[in-house]
Each structure stands twice: as C-alpha cells, then as structure tokens.
Symmetry: C2
Subunit: 405 residues, 2 copies
C-alpha cells in the first residue's frame, strides 16, 4: 500500500473561545462576513480542545472525515471551503516559490492527493461550548501544516465557522469585521496574549436538561432580517464597545471588563428576543445564574464575577483567581449537585472556602438541586499548536482512525 511513499500526517490542537463582545449576524453568508466586529477570550486547551489529524497519501481514493470516531460527510460546503482555500494557498505558495525547496515540491505534489481528516474534542459536543469554532480552527491549522501553508489563516478558518477565526490565536482576540467585499480584511488579531492577565479565570456552568436550540446559522439569518435592534447594535453600538473592551483588557480592569461582558451578553440575547419569531437561548436556570451573579456582586460592592451566554443556556463566568474558591461554594449552595455519579467540578483545582453566613444568606436563594450538571474551571490559554508526539495521531498508518477513538 503506502509502503514506498509513506503517509504525510500532522496532528494539531486548537482551543475554544468565548466572546465577550458578541458576533451575531452575517453580511455575507457565503464568505461568512459579520455585521459587526467581536472580541473573545481563548480558553485553555488543558480543559477544552479539539485535536485534529490530517493525512495525505497517494493511496487514498477519496477525501474522508471522521468526527469523534464516526465517519461524517466531508462534502459539507463550509468544510469544502476551508479545504479549497488551503489548497489554493498551497498552490500559490508553491508557484510563487522560485526555488524548488524540498517541502515546497513535496506539497505541490501532494496537492493532487486525497486527504483523510479525523477530529475529536476532549469535551462533550453537546455541552454547547462552541465546538465548531475549535473544530474549524483546528482543521485549518492542521491542513496548513500538512500543506506547508503559512501566514494569515484566520481568514480561512472564518469561512468554516465565523467564530473559528478567533480560535486561531491565544489570549484575547478580536475579529475585525472588515469592509471589503472579498473578506480579505475580515480577520482575527490578538489583542493581548494569554500571559497578559494571569489571574483571570473562567468557570463554565453546564446547565442540565438542555433542549434543542435554534441553530446559530439559521438564528442569525432571521435576526438580520427581522431585528431592528440588532441593526442598531451592529452599526451604532458595537464599534464603541470594541474599543472599550480592548482598553479594559489592556488595563486588566476586571470591574469594567466584567460589566461590559455582562452587558454585551444581555444585549445579544435582547436582539435574539427582538428577532421574529423570537429566539430564546436563556432558560429559567440561566436567569437564576444571572440573578445569583448580580446578588453576589451587589453584596461585594463591585463586579467580582461576570457572566456571558452564547447560543445556549450554559453560563460562562469570568472572575479573578482570588474569587474562585468562594464563588464555587456559592454555586454549590445555590445549585446543589445531584448524586448522579459524575464529577461536579472539573478542570483546574479549586480550594475549599467557607463563605460567611452573611454572604450566603444575602446571595443564595431558592437552591435548585440538579439544575447545574457540572462546573468546569479553566483560564485563558494559547492558540492552536502542532502536536509533535506521533503517538497522538488520530489516524493510523493505514490512514484510518485509531482504535482508541
């Protein structure tokens, strides 16, 4: 089989990101160009990551794709967009390269080969944690490594899933909406690296009994068509919020960062409600989390915790490391874990805390057992990375998924 010409294979990982200035609505569905800029925090891959292995071989007879071990349709248009773009960049790079360097000629040859791709998450896809962003970022990063493409890749990732472009960098990342019709200037840029704010922590509350939601692609389309508030937000409000948020991050001003994060999450969900028919992503448990955070901050006299919600009911909370132990205890008291065998607190270690009775009586109201399925503690982290360890490949020497997946 592939004995004389072994498989070319690379494995990469990419992170999830959570927007603090939200992206909602496209001005171009094909190229995935947004109606406003957005800004996100890249989460650490120790807790949440996608791993993707991409391989080419002259023996492969067709492009194939496996997601979490199950073969999937590789023909879906957005995946094809990414594949086509990377191959185009590889071809361009090769033809522009006068010196027929070794890697360059190899990749030129390999452009005719079929590709096998396998991808998996270290977290449940159902958790509603924007797995498509990490997935497409990882795909594009891996394909780029495989074909020897360098340079600006966020524009390619964007064509897979809009928010994927922000997962191409670590730390704090803005997606500049751009102006041009071809989308060349609609790219992600790092605002600050993951080392910039070492005290920042991210606590994800996974809400139980999640039902099906309006898919974000369809939701956005309806919002753009029907919500006059979204139009106003995108045109008149987000530009100023982008510069405010950038400044708050640069100054590590948690009070202001947290407040704007909460306000922008609320405004995004407000535009969903202003959509016709209206879209609801927050449920009664989400609202309880919102109320809890506001009571906690009111008791503390400042914003020590900030929530943000994407297109689902799970809460993503920001706080500084000195708040984690106490607030985790507050969450446990408010949403007592049900004895369902699973671990309630995942991710980074959390110390024990004994909040004062005064705090608890002011903040904990109507405890709702089992409403939160589990919590995951993480922090800002780096962007996509190449995995050097060959034992981590998700595809075996035969180009098929390893039995482990």
């Amino acid at each position: 089989m592939a004995e004389d010409k072994p498989l070319s294979v690379v494995t990469c990982t990419a992170p999830v990101n959570i927007a603090v200035i939200k992206y909602w609505g496209k001005r171009d569905e094909e190229l995935i160009l947004p109606i406003n800029s957005s800004l996100s925090v890249t989460l650490h891959q120790d807790q949440l990551k996608t791993t993707t292995t991409a391989a080419i071989s002259r023996d492969f007879t067709e492009d194939r794709l496996w997601l979490n071990g199950k073969e999937n349709d590789i023909g879906q248009p957005r995946l094809q967009s990414c594949l086509r773009e990377i191959r185009r960049l590889a071809r361009k790079r090769h033809s522009g390269n006068g010196n027929s360097g070794d890697s360059s000629s190899r990749s030129a040859l390999s452009l005719a080969y079929k590709v096998h791709i396998a991808s998996e998450n270290n977290f449940p896809t159902a958790a509603g944690l924007a797995s498509s962003a990490a997935g497409f970022a990882c795909l594009v990063y891996a394909l780029a490594k495989l074909y020897g493409v360098e340079g600006e890749l966020s524009e390619v990732a964007r064509q897979g899933s809009g928010s994927a472009c922000r997962s191409m960098f670590g730390g704090f990342v803005q997606w500049v909406m751009g102006q041009s019709a071809d989308g060349k200037d609609s790219i992600a840029q790092q605002v600050a690296p993951e080392t910039h704010w070492p005290e920042l922590r991210v606590l994800i509350l996974v809400v139980s009994a999640e039902k099906k939601h309006v898919a974000s692609t369809a939701g956005m389309q309806t919002s753009v068509k029907t919500s006059l508030l979204l139009k106003h937000r995108a045109e008149a409000l987000v530009p100023e919020r982008m510069s405010q948020m950038t400044q708050h991050i640069q100054q590590r001003d948690f009070e202001a960062f947290g407040e704007l994060t909460m306000k922008d999450s609320n405004q995004f969900h407000a535009t969903c409600l202003d959509t016709f028919p209206p879209i609801f992503y927050l449920n009664d448990i989400s609202k309880q989390v919102v109320a809890l955070v506001h009571r906690y901050n009111a008791h503390c006299g400042k914003n020590k915790v900030a929530y943000t919600f994407d297109a689902g009911p799970n809460a993503v909370l920001f706080m500084l490391d000195d708040t984690v132990d106490e607030f985790v205890e507050v969450v446990k008291r408010s949403f007592p874990p049900e004895n369902n065998g699973g671990q309630f607190l995942k991710g980074l270690p959390v110390g024990s805390a004994t909040p004062s009775e005064e705090l608890l009586s002011a903040v904990v109201r109507d405890p709702t057992p089992g409403a939160i399925q589990y919590m995951l503690l993480t922090k800002p982290g780096p962007g996509p990375a190449l995995v050097e360890d060959a034992s981590c490949h998700l595809l075996g020497a035969d180009g098929l998924p390893q039995s482990s997946s």
Copy 2:
C-alpha cells in the same frame, strides 16, 4: 352625624387595558411623561373591572382609602397627585363659573370636605393584569364625577399611573407622549371605539407559580438609565410603529395587527433584557406559549393568534372569534388543566371544538400539565362609567366600607 347634610357619594367602574405598542420608560418621573407614545386595547369590564366609590361629607375628619376592603395609606404621592389635580380643576371650574349654579356652589363648598374612597377589583390583583391602570382611571373618573369636573381627565389619570390614562377610554386608545414640559399634551385619545372590531377576542393565560417581579416603576427607571436599545426603540422605532398600528386597527387587518403586536411585545422584553442588571418578565412557560402561537400560525399559514406580555409572565392573546374554540382546545391540550378545583376557563363562553389530528400533532408539543392556572376570555370594551344603582356603592351611609367588601 351626617343627617342634616347627607353624604355626597358616587360609584364608577373602569377597565383594564393591554398595550399593543408598549410603554416603557419615563422622561419625567414626577409628572409621569413617557419616552414614547403607546397604544392599547381596553378590555371589557364584564370580565375585568375596578369599581370605586368616592364620598365626601363635612363630617369626615380625614381622607381615607380602602382597597379591596382593607384600609390603605392614602398619603402615597401618586394618589395625592390625582386628588390634588381633581380638586384644582374643580376649584378652577367653580371660579370660572360666574353663575353660581347649584351644583357648582355645592362642589365649591365640598372642596373643603375630606374624602373617603373605596376601590375593588372583580379579578385577583395578583394576576398581574395591570390593576393599577384600572384603579387610577377609576379613582380619577369617580373623583371627577364627585366634584363635577368635566373634560380632559386622562392627563390626571396619567399622574396616578402612566397607563391609567389609556383606561379612560374604551376600544383602541393611544397615549400620545406629547412634547411639553408640563405634560399638558401627554394625553390619551381614542383611536377607534370598542364597536369598531366586533370579532376581536382577547384570551388571557394566567401562568401558575408566579414569582415576584421587578416592579415596573423601578424597572423602567433602570431601563431608561442603562438600555441603549430602549433609547433607540423610543426615539427611532416607536413613532413608525404607532402609525402602523393605528392603520392596522382602522383597517381591521388582523394579520398585520397581530404581527406588530407580537413584535412590539418581543421588543419591549428585549429592552428589559438589555437593561443592567437585566430584567426578565417572561419565564419558560411564557416562552412555551410564544412557541405554541408561532407553531399554530405557521400551521395555519397566517397570523391567527397574537401574543403580548406585560411586566409579568401571563400571556394576553388576540384572535378573531372564529379562532377561539379551536385555539382554546389547543391550549388545553398543551397545558392540561390540573384538577385543583378552580374553573379553568373563565369569562365569555367558549364552544367545543375538535381540532384535526394533523393540527394537534403539528402544534401540541411536550404538554405541560398545570403550567397555566386558568384562561379568561374577553373582548374590547367601553371606558369608565358611572354606576347609577345606589346599591352598588362600596361605602355605606356612614362613609365606611359596606360589609360586602
């Protein structure tokens, strides 16, 4: 006691109204001047009304107030505003009246007397049905009758509770926001009488297990201070919606009336969510009602039912009379009544209907028993009225509440 000079007493009734273009936010807290115009439907008093008796006597030693049979503080500022305004108008009318007519001189004399007021609703205050609007409209109407004041009274009612001004008329009523600082032009006007659209029906779904909500006065203040979307709505969007809604009503175009009603309710709740801290009035049951209405309309291929929600989770649904029987059955299937002894369907009679299996399977999803406490069917109705029947007075000859209340 009051034997030689008997008690002067009047009893009036006033209706509840439900806004289809929502009022949210004041530009003047004292005078209750709104940041945008609004438009409402006055509901029929056969189902929902406030009754108020006002009496004066030279023997009364202080102003007193009873609400639903219980003595209440008459000193609350907004009630005092209404009392002061009506007395001022009475004084003005008297002094402007050169001829000392009998009634005029009597009312001039009586201006020095103390007043007793008793008021009650024929529906539970807790139902969240804007009882303050009916209450203040009724108070102002009764005081005006008592003191012989005529003419524009909505401006006085407005100073009791903003939306009360709209309860001063029957049918379809707009509250013109006005421009002047003294509020003289911030008044209610009838857009069409209650006879204009005889087929229109209003079905109120009272949601169970209602919790305490943010009071609307406080909520509005926070929204005006913090929601940029509310500002945009009030300034840029409502003016056009007011003229659209007026036109839909004049043309009795249910399709368009219903759609704009739903959109405006959603937009109002969107601005609540954009408030900081956010305000949520809709709960998961409200959202189920919203989804049910959209599924029903989608199945029918047009808007046959329209929802609107005020500052609480109860749904107010508009539909034409030919839709009532079927839709009531759909509600019963979706929210099966729990056997709690109470009547599930109140108000106007509803016929039986047997919706097709096709309709039911398309529209009814995940029935939630007990989620709706009861339904009340009503229709547009007339404005405040004087009750001629002396046996209806809530105050007895001694000026104290009758034992019946």
